[in-house]
Every structure is written in C-alpha cells, then in structure tokens.
Amino acid sequence: MLYSEKVMEHFHNPRNVGELPDADGVGEVGNPVCGDMMKITIKVDDDHIQDIRFQTLGCGAAIATSSIVTEMARGMTLADAVAITKQEVAEELGGLPPAKMHCSVLATDGLKAAVDDFLVKHGREPIAGPIASNDPHFDPHAEEE
C-alpha cells in the first residue's frame, strides 16, 4: 500500500489544524472504536465558508483527507461544500489506496455535519443528507472496489 506524494505532503504539513473558538458550525464524526475521529469548525459569512479548522485522530490518510477538504471548502458556498464527494477528495490528493477510501468519507462527513450544525442553529433546514460515518452500522468497506 502506497500513499501518493500529495497525501504524504498533507499528512506531514496539514493545513488548517485546530479549532475556531467562536465557530458558527461544529461537525464531529467517527467513533474511537473504529479508530478515526474528526471535528471540523467553520465560520460562515453570507452562506460562504469564510474560515475552517479541523482536528483528527486517525491514520495518515485520515489526516491528509481532513487537511485537503478544509482547503477545498474554504470560500465555498454551503451548498457547494456539502456537495464535495469522497471521490473528489481522493482525486484532489492524487488518489487513495482502496483500503483508505473510507477516510475521505470521514472528511466529507465532518464538513457536512458542520454545515448542518450551522443551519440548524439558525433555524434553517439541514441540507447535507445522512452522515454515513455517524451511523453505527456504517460499513466503510461497503463501496470498495
């Protein structure tokens, strides 16, 4: 199993690590038994993601996908942010080993959860749809080729 150069680059130099103290939306996904946990905090301005930070407990791919998804989402509208797919995350990183595709689910789910948290806090309808990795029956291998 080999990671691409870009995965390793993001793993060793992750962008946007930390927690925004006065976040407008907070997304927490994963569970410690499966090993990976992720938290995303966002600042929202005019339905755009103005600032974003992440914290991740997980493997190299989990940290790299978290890092890249924060870069992709920054400046996006909320609707565009929740539409980022795990495939787009993996492509942006120059590909992921098949056994690690589920890590990009964690990253996109963290972002979706943060956006919905913002919307719900403001009395609006959530737009992200179901959060796969918060489902106790989530099978990360289900969609692997």
């Binding site: 199993m1 390793m8 793993f11 060793h12 992750p14 690590v17 927490e28 410690p32 038994v33 499966c34 090993g35 990976d36 946990m37 992720m38 938290k39 914290q55 991740t56 407990l57 997980g58 493997c59 190299g60 791919a61 989990a62 940290i63 056994a99 690690k100 589920h102 990360p140 291998h141």
Partner: protein, 395 residues
C-alpha cells in the same frame, strides 16, 4: 535524513555478513543437486547434512532426520498443523486446540481445518499474554489430536511455559506443536526439555535469508506430507533442497547460540532502557504483556490517544522503522487480534507501537527513537479532537 534506525527485528533481520560468506559458495560454484551421485552432488549433500546435524544439535533433537528444511516459518506451521491433524483425524479425532493469539500462519490452517470437519478451540491468553495451563487442561477432549501454542508471541513478546502445556496435551494423547519463529536463538530451545513433537522456525528472524525455514518433527510423529514428489527430506517434504539456504540457516543459528550468553542480557538491558524511557517520559502509555515472561527483544506499547499508522509514518520520516497493531496499517479495519485477545480495547489497540531490537541495535538507537517519539506523540495528540477530553488532567 540519511540515517536508518531499524527497530523491527521481529518482522525480519538483515542477513549477517558471516552468513552470506558461508552460503555464497553454494550458489554459483558448489551448486550440485544434493540428490545426485557424482562428486558435485555429494559435495552439496555433505554440506546439507552437516547443516542438518548442526541444527539438530542446537535443538537437542535425538536424530538429524527430525530436522526438515522448509521454505519459511509459514510453511513449517502450515504443514505441521495440516499434516499432523490429517494423519491423526481417523486415529484420534477431529479436534485441535490453538491459542487465540497465534500468528496467522497457524490460525489460517486452523480455520481451513475447521471448514473441513475439524472443531477448533481458540484458547484465550490471560491479560498478561500468558496461557494458563489449567485453561488448556479444560479445553482438552478425548478426540483432541493436536495442540499448537506459540513459544513467544510475535507482537507482544510474551513467552509460554511450553513444558507444562506439553504435559497436559500428552496426558490426553495429543501431539504438541509450537511456533517458535520468534524464540529460536534468542532463548534456550531444547526439544527434549520442552517435550514438543513439532516446532516451526524461520531463517529470516535469525539473520539468515528470507525463504528459509525448519520444521522439527519428532521421530514417529504421524504426519501427512504436503509436498509430494522426489521424496526428499525423508519423504516428508519433497523438492530439491535449498542447500545455500540450509547452510545459511545452520550458520545463523550457530552464531545466535554462540553469542547468546552476551547478546541476551545486552538486548534485555536495551529493552528495559526503552520501556522505562517510554513509560516515564510519555504520559498515558502502557506496556502490553507480562513484564517478566517475555523475550529480551520485543516491547509493545499502547500510546493512548494516538493512531498507530500516523505515528509509524512520522517515525519513518525520521528514518525509524517500527510497527503497529493499528487497523489502518493492516489493510483490514480490525486492530491486532493479538492485542484484542489479551483484552486490549480496540480504541487503544489502534495506538499500539511494537519496537523489536536485535544484533545491530545500539543504545544510541534507543535514545534516538525516544527523542523522536516524544514530540511526535505530543503533536498527534494536539491534533486529536478527543485527547484533551479523554485525559483532561494531562493538558
């Protein structure tokens, strides 16, 4: 980063230069088939049998023909389990006992036998990584034909009291096999003292090349060969012998035996230095497995609140090679079956770190590892969304 600090000797070892020197002539010059009658063949035969005698003497075997050269530890394990169980099914019964934390080279043939009509008891070790002889006694049945329990565990390094376990198996008329890939050369291994009927060994764990192994099979032990053909290795393992590999294995074992009186205590003291440095220097860490019943060269830690693969990759960036029982390193999503078997919760097993040292490890290597590990753990914990919540006192 030019420096390579190799601390994964339980995975494999470099071939010792003295072993290379001993085996090289048997590749291009003294290349005869040991089964040929002319002088080139006799020369190879002589070298092969001298190697066998040397290994037999080291193991305390009563006859050299009890030593079979194989291609690896996995082959030895596979053929011991399937060969003995197949030969004994009709005579004794279709039940075998293995420990739950065996290497996959034992667990997989056990599963294979299970699919073919055998019942298998997977014996759980105690939380200190030691098998309770009473638990084995309870697991034994009239139809138990084989017990296979590893001598030392490859992940946590705990050592079993084989003699006591063998007596229990023999009292019920079952054969006893032990996977001793991790112990050979590192502690006394005498088949008479231990009483085992079969034992598996690997060359590349003792500074011989990969692709070499030995199966010890006590004379008279019922055994159905897997490799059938020209009848080499006393009809128990056909195939033209790897003469250079046999010479390498015997030479490597001789060096292990000669150096053990000094090397054993040296490794144990390096391991102790490492264990105290980690447990005292990095908060929220634990050592897996018994403190006393263990090999001198393996230490396995739980680094709480850190994922093992991330730790491994960051150490690799510093030139350090270690391993982890994290699910993410294995390709499956299950953390190490060894750690789970000793009662380690999965969320902690993801943060395991195995350090295994050997012939070329120095005090400076241990200190370098600790110097690198400390900030890496701190950084990964600071990136975690849950560490501060899990261990509020430590922040």
């Amino acid at each position: 980063m030019d420096r390579i600090t190799y601390l994964d000797y339980a995975a494999t070892t470099p071939v010792d230069e003295r072993v290379v020197d001993a085996m090289l002539p048997f590749l291009a010059q003294r290349f005869g088939n040991p089964n040929s009658l002319y002088s080139l063949g006799r020369d190879a035969y002589t070298a092969l049998e001298a190697s066998r005698e040397s290994v037999a003497a080291s193991l305390g075997a009563s006859h050299p023909s009890e030593v079979l050269f194989t291609s690896c530890g996995t082959e030895s394990d596979n053929t011991a389990l399937i060969g003995i169980a197949s030969a004994m099914a009709e005579r004794k019964g279709r039940h075998i006992v293995v420990s739950a934390f065996e290497h996959h080279a034992v667990l997989e043939p056990a599963h294979w036998l299970e699919k073919r009509g055998f019942s298998v008891t997977y014996l759980k070790p105690q939380t200190d990584g030691v098998i309770d002889p009473d638990a084995l006694a309870e697991a034994m049945r009239d139809e138990t034909c084989l017990v296979s329990i590893m001598h030392a565990n490859n992940e946590i390094g705990t050592v079993q009291r084989i003699r006591a376990l063998v007596e229990i198996a023999h009292a019920r008329g079952a054969y006893f096999h032990t996977d001793a890939c991790q112990t050979l050369g590192k502690m006394d291994f005498n088949v008479e003292d231990l009483g085992v009927d079969a034992a598996s060994f690997s060359g590349h764990k003792i500074y011989a090349p990969k692709g070499t192994g030995v199966l010890y099979l006590r004379r008279g032990t019922r055994f159905q060969p897997y490799l059938m053909g020209g009848g080499q290795e006393f009809k128990k393992r056909s195939g033209t012998q790897n003469v250079a590999g046999a010479v390498a294995f015997a030479t490597a074992l001789r060096i292990m035996d000669e150096e053990r009186p000094l090397e054993g205590p040296r490794l144990a003291s390096l391991r102790d230095r490492l264990v105290s440095a980690v447990l005292e220097g990095i908060e929220n860490t634990e050592l897996n497995g018994s403190l006393t019943e263990r090999l001198p060269n393996i230490a396995n830690f739980i680094i709480k609140g850190v994922e093992g693969e991330a730790m491994l990759l960051q150490l690799d960036a510093k030139g350090i090679s270690v391993s982890t029982g994290s699910a993410c390193s294995s390709g499956s999503l299950e953390p190490s079956h060894v750690l789970l078997s000793i009662g380690c919760p999965p969320e902690l097993a993801h943060g395991s770190l195995r350090v295994s040292i050997g012939r070329f490890t120095t005090e400076a290597d241990i200190d370098y590892l600790v110097d690198c590990l400390t900030p890496i753990v701190e950084r990964l914990r600071s990136m975690s969304p849950v560490y501060a919540k899990m261990f509020p006192a430590s922040r």
